[in-house]
Symmetry: C2
Subunit: 793 residues, 2 copies
């Protein structure tokens, strides 16, 4: 591995030290001010209880460390003309990042009323954690951020996502020692085995050990130094240690470490880009060990605070009531010597701003943190080039995800130069039948290789790692910085990222309402290997509830599609890949599935989101006797088979077949932008006829979406009810009462008067189910009449 | 740290080698047989297509390695009279664990028809992955298992959970190199900082590197050995490396490594138990590097299979149709020389069984893997000793979780000797106001300590780590081995373990139906720091959807409680802690909350699960004009405040107040064992009166539960609708239209005729909301009339 050539200027001059410290003190002052003050921001008069906010909210403990990083990143960005972005893992330290962006001017550019002067400072303080103000954590409202500081664990994955295909970008990532205990973060360290030093930028992890979480020591901070060092080297990094509580010493050490790290990064990149990738790079990282709540009150009420968990939130809690606390707060705030840092009118003095870079290089103003500014539309060719021909519905079979693979392959090819599209998945791209993409891009891989490996590629844009968390985190970081992607996942195991998608949806919901945030490409899920086809796996792999989960979230963001065949999958995926600021959940099978609609019809059907399949039903202009509705590929097949049985055995019955692709169409118009009017809904489902609805997932979801409709009392839903094991495809639908025979029985039971008239037909259906049970126990396969069924009407 | 004294007998005798290899070959034969054969199990005749299953399902790749571990664990268990349990991380290798338990006889004891002879072997083969048979993964049906082999990531956390408070138990844990990439597994390595060498047993991780996942190399298997070694030492382990593809050499190395590891474990434990805990123990672990699909076909159709990802599932896929594949399969199976391993009647020969231990020491028969056999009822004192006195409802305040903390403290004290109760949480025990427990037990901690630490304890039974995954995984392992516990978690972030709770519920659903599995203590969640009180945090911390998530799952397992005050929380928690085989979700606040019910009334109310609060309503025997229903502490307060407003401003209106504690009571009787009959439901909610339901979570959940009720069209639900930020408590309810003023407006809007009559009152309510908005923007606190409100009627 190439050895770093140290630049000459690694020692700070006294001037630099003074100005860096001034910036840091100013940031510390502003962070504390946000937690406490609603008036008297410059302490021009003695501090009084009425200057103090009535509710003291915020997190001080992590703030001085974050401020230190902000200060020193400013220095190197300016000195080296870096393109840099910082992901703030301990984002509950919102006051810091707000302080940094107020100091670099980016905050006031977005919020002119929070100007970089005394009135603006007062607003900055007052609005923090104040009703109608700004949240206490780093959030979309904070310029320069792509990372919500709420749920911990995803900072490093986000940082890598931002760095992929951004060769000139350095992404610093502050990781708190609390966050470092989470699973997703622990797994994220190995992301460096997927970082291409040629086409990707660099990630610089800064592990901030301040010793404590909310109430406990942090594990990594309490390892012997040699053990921690072994761990970080085992993760593939070269750690640089910065330790101390003396500001000047820490400033010097931090400056040196950052210079060393950036020199090393530059060298690794230059070598790889000029000479090709040899050995895997061991990227530098920084271990920053400073006290929690550094420079805050050392003791409060006789108990140690600085350097302990007691500084996690608000170190002095009783300031309004307790004169001693008020005195301590004033002494603390004045310890930063605000009169040296700000002009009387509140503008920061030149020393404070000496380290701050210009324009779009400022951490608060980098366009990478407002990625929509950098987004280009994805080149997607006409779907006709990928569509499967459908002469007669239900007679030919295709694996829908394999057809989608052709489209993704072409997108991958057409972005080969732009490099702004990635496909992620937990080791399942081929298992999910998307392997055509490998003709356009291999799989990103920088670790060791063997002769027997296939499709590994130093420069690949297909990302596979057996961690749904990393897939999600990487993709989020990639999207938030303005690029495109798709996450293909086993349906059941996407619940692993339930909490992550929550946070991403909340991010999008908020950022959509911020005019300065440009829309970013949507987060697209392809959920496949779904509940109905887990022949190899069984009960543990059967869970269709992700749809329920996302539909709890903001309707302006979430979209759910269940295309019933290959061409509808193409249409839906095309729409999703072109869209912005959504979370699109697409559920589609990878097993051979009947082709129902030619491409044009598929396009039209998907545009409507739900519609009558006239060719499948038997109504003749008038209202039908019964509606058979379906959503999802397997339910569609069973409904069509049931429709065929009804056609044959009960020829007089007027049956309507309705297929739903876009689940949110079922919702009331007032509840979701895609929701149907009652007029439309009644036109499809009738107001008073029985509706037998075969749904891919948990049946009560349909009731939840449709309960306000006039015809709801006549709605009868079949779906997955947690009955599964390792078994045949048809046995799965029988176990859950979603099979064609059961659906026909449901029709007979629910159409008025039919139960008596069609008793023999009903018995015939029950007999078929009995025959099924006997057959699979003996043969282990499905009944030939089911296995060989095709649409024939 | 004490140095290991090597036992003398670390070299295998030739005899031992021969018998170990015989056991391993037998297990390999049985594993392959399960994947392929439905007849001719002993290959007494040439293999024909009709002996082959019609659907070839299963995972061969990991099986030989798992078999090797099973064989060698047998040896050391027998030689050392160990109490041991094995957690099989790569549980998709179901054929292996089934083979091992069939060989040790435990399988046939539970399933006498699958006897340890030729007919039983045929059944063992046929039933595997066959409809009506057994799942392809390790699952509850497999004796000796506490770990479903479906979703990967939790093996090591489960192993630690099993080891806690089991001082004489050694828990081996096989970790696949695929699983090792997941976040939860990556975090689990640090569990050793929480393992007490005195009161806990030992965990022996066996990292099995076979190089490939489904389709990709595994990251850890492709690290340079020194880097991997550094990583594992950084995790705090002493790695022992076993590498090879020559069976005899691997047998010798594995035997030596296991002996070394167990010697080291014994020494560490003896030292700690005799001399006290000094330096943190660096526990041994084994790195086992053998080929994927070892001993299977080397090549198929000209492509390498053994040692590559192609052996992951079924190495020869076309056996029934392709004579060459059939020939290869026969050669493969015969390579194990079954005629040497089994008597002609199918019984294993003595050599095969030589290593197998006896009785309850067998891996398939250890009672620790059927933990309910070992469970003792938890000692819980009368709730009267913890109850808060309630003279008049709604006039005194308590923090409900703090009161529960008193109960937990007492349970902790009363189990001090038994050590069969643990409290887990992600660094939030004190934040969630349960700190009273620290008077009975400190927090488990074996890493470094400082003067400023509090409540850390080498022998503590409160477990805190900033990883919901580890909290959940540890607790699951602890419960599955028969002990008790409670997981307290921020409500929003419990979604982090959505997928884990899925798997646990599926496990319980299945094991409840197995007569030989004894019921185990329930998995109890206390979800607090809930959506309505996130003053410090805001939108990212607001998600009440876990209830929705678990209610998708098997009704025989899931229970959801929303106690409205301290005494009802005590009652619900008491019930949950005594129960078996459930997942109990309890949502309760930590902020001061009005006391509504004295203890006796609380007990009676919780036993009913839902009931009318007569004292709060204004009905006079007849049917009310309107029902105000509530579930959850904050909605209850708002409903009571609304009832008081109605009483004052619309005195003629007959209002009924209904409180729901047990959410599943709302479901139809046929859908959940707790479901109410329609008669009961109508008695509470009426059949035709407007019901305004203030619910803690997403409002549509109530519709989903109640849509079949007669009165459903009159049900109007208010709840959380993703509108939140860092703000005051009352502003949160106003933002989501759950506030008292809005509820009164809802009543006025929905009671027939009232809109006109009560227009002035309605305006008064609207004015109060306007006043609220103005007030908080100015003062940052809630309106005094809200902040100082008490029940006064």
């Amino acid at each position: 591995m190439p050895k770093v050539e140290h630049r000459k200027a690694t020692a700070l001059s006294d001037d630099e030290l003074r100005t860096l410290d001034a910036h840091w003190r100013a940031a510390n002052y502003l962070a504390a001010g946000q937690i406490y003050l609603m008036a008297n921001p410059l302490l021009t008069e003695p501090l009084e209880p009425e200057h103090i906010k009535p509710r003291l909210l915020g997190h001080w403990g992590t703030s001085p460390g974050l401020n230190l990083v902000y200060t020193h990143l400013n220095r190197v960005i300016k000195a080296r003309a870096l393109d840099a972005l910082c992901v703030w893992g301990p984002g509950h330290g919102g006051p810091s990042v707000l302080a940094g962006s107020w100091l670099d001017g980016s905050y006031s550019e977005i919020h002119p009323d929070v100007s970089r002067d005394a009135p603006g400072m007062e607003r900055l303080f007052r609005q923090f954690s104040f009703p109608g103000g700004v949240p206490s954590h780093v959030a979309p409202e904070v310029p320069g951020s792509i990372h919500e500081g709420g749920e911990l664990g995803y900072s490093l994955a986000h940082a890598y996502g931002a760095a992929f295909d951004n060769p000139d970008l350095v992404v610093a990532c502050v990781i708190g020692d609390g966050e470092a205990e989470t699973g997703p973060l622990a797994a994220s360290w190995h992301s460096n085995k997927f970082l291409d030093p040629v086409h990707d930028g660099a990630v610089l992890p800064i592990l901030h050990l301040n010793g404590y979480k909310i109430a406990n020591p942090a594990v990594l901070s309490r390892l012997p130094e040699a053990e921690l060092d072994a761990l970080l080297r085992g993760y593939g990094h070269e750690p640089l240690h910065v330790t101390g509580d003396d500001p000047a010493g820490v400033h010097r050490a931090m400056a040196r470490a950052l210079d060393d790290a950036l020199d090393q990064i530059a060298l690794l990149q230059r070598t790889a880009r000029e000479e090709g990738i040899g050995e895997r790079a061991h990227w530098p990282m920084i271990v920053l060990r400073t006290p929690k709540g550094w420079t805050g009150p050392a003791e409060v009420d006789g108990l140690p605070v600085e350097g302990t968990w007691r500084s996690h939130q608000v170190p002095l809690a009783g300031v309004r009531e307790n004169p001693e606390h008020l005195r301590q707060l004033e002494a603390w705030l004045r310890s930063y010597r605000p009169e040296e840092l700000f002009h009387p009118d509140g503008r920061p003095v030149a020393d404070v701003l000496a380290c701050v870079p210009e324009g779009g290089r400022r951490l608060g103003a980098t366009p990478h943190a407002n990625g929509g500014l950098l987004t280009h539309d994805l080149p997607i060719r006409s779907l006709d080039s990928f569509a499967v021909p459908v002469k007669k519905p239900g007679t030919t079979l295709h694996e829908p995800t394999r057809i989608l693979g052709d489209l993704l392959q072409q997108v991958m090819k057409d972005t080969a130069a732009r490099r702004d599209f990635r496909l992620v998945g937990p080791d399942e791209t081929a298992s999910n039948r998307l392997q055509a993409v490998f003709d356009a891009s291999g799989k990103a891989w920088q670790a060791g290789t063997l002769q027997t490996d296939e499709h590994l590629d130093r420069h690949g844009r297909v990302m596979e790692i057996l961690s749904e968390h990393l897939c999600q985190g990487w993709l989020e970081g990639y999207l938030l910085t303005g690029r495109h992607g798709l996450f293909s996942c086993y349906e059941a195991f996407v619940h692993i990222v339930d909490s992550m998608v929550n946070q991403h949806i909340k991010w999008l919901r908020t950022s959509r309402r911020l005019p300065w945030r440009a829309p970013i490409p949507s987060l697209n899920y392809l959920l496949t290997s779904h509940v109905w086809r887990q022949d190899h796996n069984g009960f543990s792999h059967q869970d269709p509830g992700f749809v329920d989960h996302v539909l709890n979230k903001s309707p302006e963001v979430v979209r759910v599609y269940l295309p019933p065949d290959a061409n509808t999958l193409l249409s839906v995926a095309d729409h999703a890949l072109r869209s912005r600021d959504y979370v699109n959940v697409i559920v589609a099978g990878k097993q051979p599935c009947f082709d129902w609609l030619p491409m044009d019809a598929a396009r039209a059907h998907c545009a409507r989101g739900a519609g009558i399949w006239e060719w499948a039903g038997t109504e003749n202009g008038g209202e039908p006797d019964v509606v058979l509705a379906c959503a999802g590929d397997v339910p569609t097949q069973e409904v069509l088979a049931a429709a065929q049985l009804l056609r044959r055995h009960l020829p007089g019955l007027a049956v309507r077949v309705v297929n739903v692709v876009d689940m949110t169409r079922l919702m009331p118009r007032e509840e979701h932008p895609h929701g149907m009017s009652d007029f439309e809904y009644d036109g499809l489902f009738t107001r008073d006829k029985p509706v037998i609805f075969a749904y891919h997932g948990y049946p009560w979801l349909i009731h939840r979406l449709a309960y306000r409709r006039t015809g709801h009392p006549n709605l009868h839903v079949r779906g997955y009810k947690e009955s599964g094991t390792t078994t045949t495809p048809f046995d799965m639908v029988v176990r859950n009462d979603l099979d064609r025979y059961r659906l026909v029985m449901d029709v007979i039971d629910r159409v008025p008067g039919l139960a008596v008239r069609a008793a023999a037909e009903r018995q015939r259906m029950a007999d078929a189910r009995t025959r099924h049970h006997a057959w699979i126990r003996e043969h282990g396969t499905d009944l030939p009449e089911v296995a060989d069924w095709t649409w024939n009407a």
